[in-house]
Structures are given as C-alpha cells and as structure tokens.
C-alpha cells in the first residue's frame, strides 16, 4: 500500500500544481461550470487511458486504441442510435475481436505493437465504412448522461472519480486483477501456477475493448455526433497518460488511479498553454516539455528512493 502511495505522489502533485496554475491564470475556471468545461473532454481520454493501461499491464502496447475509439464513436452515432439492439451487438462483437486479438498475440507469440498497428488501419477503415461523411447523432440517453448536472460536483469530476475507483478495485483489489498484473510481471510463473496465459491475455484485451467502447460512447455523448477521425490523438495521449500516471511499460506495474490523473494532467496542460496565449507553433513542444519534466522528476524521485 505504501509503495502505491509513493507511485501516486508525483502524478497527484503535478496535477495539483497545474490546476493551481490554471486557476491563477484563469480564475473563472474555479467554478462548477468552469471545472466541467475544463475536464469534460478528459472523460473519454481517461477511459481510453484505462484501456491502454490494461494492455500495458500485460506487457503489451496498443497502437490501435485511437482508431478503435473512433470506430466505436461512429457505431454509437449511427447503429446504436438507429437500432439500439444491433448497436449493442456490434459493440459487443468489437470487444470480442479485442479479446481474440489478445489470445492470438499470446498464442502465436506475436509482437503486440505490430498486430495493434495493423488493427489500427482495420478500425480506421471500418469507421469510414460506418460513417463515410461526418455526421450521425447521439442517442438521447447518452447525451443526457454526459451533460447531467449533479449537485456538488460537476459530471466530469464525478465520472473521473468513479472511473478511478472502479478500475482501482478491478485491477488492484480483485483476484482477477492480481492474476492479470502477474502476467505482466512474470507470465511463465503464472503459467506454472496452472493459469492459462492465453485466456488471461484475452481477458485483459477484452476489458481494454470494453473501456475503449465506453470511451467512444462518452466522446459521442459530448460531441453530439461523430467523425471517422474523431479520436486519432487518443493512441498517444493514452500511452502518455499511463506513463505520466506512474505506470511502467513492463512488469505489470500500473496504477489505475494514476492513469486517470495522468489523463487529467494532459488535458489540463493543453488548456493551461492555451490560457497563456502561447503560439500554437510552440504548444506541441511545450506539451512535450511538461511531459519530459514530469518523467524526469519521477526518475529523480525513484533514484533517491533506491539510494
């Protein structure tokens, strides 16, 4: 438990620091509506980040999550809106494909980076087939859900807290989560203990698929309609979010709470730079600089802890 806290300290600190800076530059953000505007687009990013984290947890990486979320968004805005039952079936099938990919990658010992890169083109193609021109519509219940104004806390914050708690329970507290992390830590010993690694990887990828679907749905709920290219940025954002949140590429060392915080930090960093009126030519660089800064700080903290 204490180690988890140390891992979380830096992400929490960076988020708090950035939030303080944003409030200082733009005091208007310090309100119910302000916080919601600041963070509501972070909700789909956080969901995609959790999906990415589940794959990174089993020592793989998912380069297709951005196009997968785009595809799910297109399905949500078209099929799910027009005939809900068929929509659920299509999204369910997409999750099944994700699970099958996980099994395939493990069973044939394929490099996940290659398989998911290939799949990213498949999802992108399917998204264009679903929605050749931007459009579609949000199912009413989804729009209501994403624009709900609960008392006390805005929807964006509430959703992120809920996501952090659920994924924390799933990954860190449940028996399944422990086994999945063990696959990332030492797959061979998991196999020796009598568990099927193929099945476990299928479960990890399947869960990632579920969070990917949720991300696409949340995005359409916010955007009101879809576009085949709507979430291309999510691939890199999700990887950055996992790492920023204290996760590591190997060894099953991930933190769900950290991943959500990482996604929020990335979103906030972009807003902060925009409030500063930084020229767009510098913004990508500055965003990268913030990332490097946090990672460098993490390295320093870790080294001191070891020494």
């Amino acid at each position: 438990m204490r180690r988890l806290d140390a891992r979380l300290l830096l992400p929490v600190l960076s988020l708090a620091l950035l939030l303080a800076a944003v409030f200082w530059v733009q005091p208007r953000a310090m309100s119910y509506t302000g916080l919601n505007l600041l963070f509501n687009l972070a909700v789909p990013i956080a969901l995609a980040t959790i999906a990415q984290m589940l794959v990174i947890m089993v020592d793989d990486i998912d380069l297709s999550i951005g196009t997968f979320v785009s595809f799910c968004a297109c399905v949500t805005a078209t099929v799910l809106h027009d005939s809900p039952l068929l929509g659920v079936l299509v999204l369910g099938a997409a999750v099944a494909v994700y699970a099958a990919l996980g099994a395939l990658i493990e069973a044939r010992k394929l490099p996940a980076i290659v398989v998911t890169l290939g799949m990213s083109f498949v999802w992108a193609g399917l998204a264009v087939l679903m929605l050749p021109a931007p459009g579609g519509a949000t199912p009413d219940w989804l729009r209501t859900l994403m624009t709900v104004k609960p008392p006390l806390l805005p929807m964006a914050i509430l959703a992120c807290v809920l996501l952090a708690v659920v994924s924390h329970l799933l990954v860190t507290r449940s028996a399944l989560g422990t086994r999945l992390r063990a696959v990332g830590g030492n797959a061979r010993s998991v196999a020796r203990a009598g568990w099927s690694v193929v099945r476990l990887k299928a479960v990890a990828y399947g869960l990632a698929g579920v969070f990917g679907v949720l991300s696409g749905m949340a995005l359409v709920g916010l955007a009101t309609s879809a576009d085949a290219n709507i979430a291309l940025r999510y691939t890199l954002l999700s990887i950055a979010g996992v790492i920023l949140g204290g996760g590591e590429f190997t060894g099953g060392r991930v933190s769900p709470v950290g991943a959500v915080i990482g996604a929020l930090t990335l979103t906030l960093a972009a807003s902060f730079l925009s409030f500063l009126r930084l020229s767009p030519d510098w913004q990508i660089g500055a965003q990268g600089a913030i990332l490097v800064l946090v990672l460098a700080a993490r390295l320093l903290v870790r080294r001191r802890a070891v020494a």
């Binding site: 733009q26 459009g135 925009s274 409030f275 965003q287």
Partner: protein
C-alpha cells in the same frame, strides 16, 4: 480592379446603414482555427490580424485574438472552444476541423450566451451561424463566362478535384448545370486534377490524345489551371480559354500569355480573407442586428483588367486575397435576408 461579387445591391446596404458601432466596444471576439499549415490558412490568419487589429484600434471591439490548435484534430478544437468559453469571450468565429464533431462544444458556447459564427469549415449545430461557399454557383459561373466569350459554344474539358470529396461533387454539379443552361457547350472529357498543378498536368496530358482537336475551354476547380496550360502547350495544341483559380502561378502564367499574345480569361475562388467577413458578421450579431443563420460567401473574381493589381498583391506561391469590410458583411447579410 478586382470585382467582388456582392449579390446584394448598394440599396440594401443603404437600408441597413447607420447602426452605432459603440455598442460592441467592450465585446471580445475570438477566432478558433484548426489548421495553419498551408498558404491559404496563413493568408486567412494574416487577414484576420490586419482587420481585427484595426477594429480594436478603432474601438469597434475590445479584443480579437486568434487561437489555432496545435494539431488538426476535432477533439483538440473542442477543448479549445471550451477554453474560449471559460475565458468569457462574447463571440467565437470558427473554422472547424469537423462539421459535426464540434457540435457539443458549439452547443456549450451557445448555452453560455456566446455567438458562434462558422465559416469555410462550417458546423451543423443549428445555433451557430454559417458562412458557406456556394460551390455549385462557382462551377456554373465558369460556363456562364465562357458563353459570353464564345457565343457559338464548343467542346469543354473539365478538370475535377479530389475524388470523393464533397467540394469536388458540388463544383462539378454546378459546371454540369451550367452546360445544361448553355447547351451550345458539351463536356468531351473529364479528369481529376486533385487541385494540384502537377497532378492536373499529368491527367490532362494523358487524356488529350483521345480528345477532339477543337477544345475551346477548360473549366477547373482551382489550383489546376497552370498544370492544364502546361499540358496543352506541351502537346502543341491551340490554347483554349482556361478558367483560373486565383493561385499566384496561374495568375503569373495568365499575365505572361496576355503580354505575349493577348490571352484573355477569368479567375475565380474564395478569398482567405473570408475570416474577416466572419468577424464582421459576429460583430453585427453582437450589435443586435438580425442576421440569418445561413449566409453565402461572395467569390473573389479576377477579370482581365484586374489581373495586374491582383498579381501584385498575391505573394509568390500564394492565393489572391481580399479583406472584407463592415459594409461587405452588411451586404452579405442583406442578400441572405432576402
């Protein structure tokens, strides 16, 4: 002189003239832009800066900064719009990355009482104002011009844009409508030039041998006229009337030909300065004027006598531009209201 096709008449302008400017002196208008990576967009931002800088100096509005997203992505622009809402602007002028994916953010802005005016890349959210391009008319106009030049008609070659893009279908539909209106013309060949001179040159060179010798005109979509001319010259064909698309290389070639042999044509496209038209429309809405939700961008046409002036002000490798005034905006609004 360049002629701006103002569909409204000066009478309409007079009818609207006279509202006080001071009403918007403390208002702030932001430009939300998704992309700055080509000459058209650079000219668009430059025009915005020039016109709004003057407007701020004159006390028409308090502030009018331009925001461009670091990457051309709808999700980034949605976040950018939400940031602009947070900063408390009164109006957002928007060139959108997606016609639909920003609707949620645009709705948030409208709900916060912010005026949203989209142009060029327009959005479908009903609460926003749209300044759209009438691409059909752009196609039809070319045939109309040719009918004035060549009353007896003849064979036309059509150069289309990028296959599968909405703009290409629209301009082409307009050209075909024009041919129906002026039946003395017939389109004997059609190639895709992808709005790029090199692609157009290859495509035209490839199709020329299969076409009759008496091609009198080439109807284009912009960015392809120079390439077509090169292909005709290389094939040793008689130069037809090629309608140009306001690109600097096209205008330069046209001038060279005019000086050498009196070549005559016309050029039509949309001026990047349409961002400034959107600015004035937003200002008019903030001023309390009644503005229709859907407006049409006037074309920037260059005729023979305006060629030198246009070429002088067009940067090398760029596009001819026009900055709009408050009166232009009023004319456009009046035209749409009728």
């Amino acid at each position: 002189m360049r002629t701006l096709t103002k569909m409204a008449l000066s009478a309409a302008v007079l009818a609207l003239a006279g509202p006080a400017l001071a009403d918007t002196a403390d208002r702030r208008i932001a430009l939300s832009n998704n992309y700055a990576g080509n000459s058209w967009r650079q000219a668009m931002l430059q025009s915005w800066e020039t016109v709004t800088g003057q407007a701020v100096a004159d006390g028409v509005v308090a502030e009018a900064p331009a925001f461009t997203t670091a990457e051309n992505q709808a999700t980034e622009q949605a976040a950018q719009i939400q940031n602009i809402i947070l900063e408390g602007y009164d109006a957002i002028v928007l060139n959108a990355a997606s016609p639909t994916a920003l609707n949620g953010a645009v709705k948030e802005a409208c709900d916060a009482g912010i005026v949203v005016v989209s142009f060029d890349g327009i959005v479908t959210e009903p609460c926003a104002y749209r300044i759209a391009v009438d691409f059909r008319e752009m196609g039809r106009k070319q045939v109309e011009y040719l009918s004035g030049r060549l009353p007896e008609g003849g064979n036309l070659l059509e150069i289309r844009g990028l296959a599968g893009v909405f703009v290409d279908d629209e301009i082409s539909a307009g050209i075909h409508a024009g041919v129906e209106q002026f039946p003395q013309f017939s389109i004997v060949g059609s190639v895709h030039g992808d709005w790029a001179q090199d692609v157009a040159q290859r495509a035209v060179a490839g199709v020329l041998p299969s076409l009759p010798d008496d091609i009198v005109g080439v109807v284009t979509q912009g960015g392809d006229g120079y390439g077509a001319a090169q292909a005709f010259a290389a094939a040793g064909r008689e130069m037809p009337i090629i309608v140009m698309g306001n690109r600097q290389d096209e205008l330069l070639w046209w001038k060279e030909q005019r000086d050498a042999n009196g070549y005559e044509t016309m050029s039509v496209s949309i001026a990047p300065g349409v961002s400034t038209l959107a600015f004035w429309v937003a200002q008019q809405v903030l001023d309390g004027q009644t503005v229709p939700q859907d407006l049409i961008v006037p074309f920037l046409e260059i005729q023979q006598d305006g060629l030198d002036a246009a070429l002088e002000t067009t940067p090398e490798g760029g596009v001819a531009n026009e900055e709009y005034t408050l009166d232009d905006a009023k004319a456009v609004i009046a035209a749409a209201a009728n």
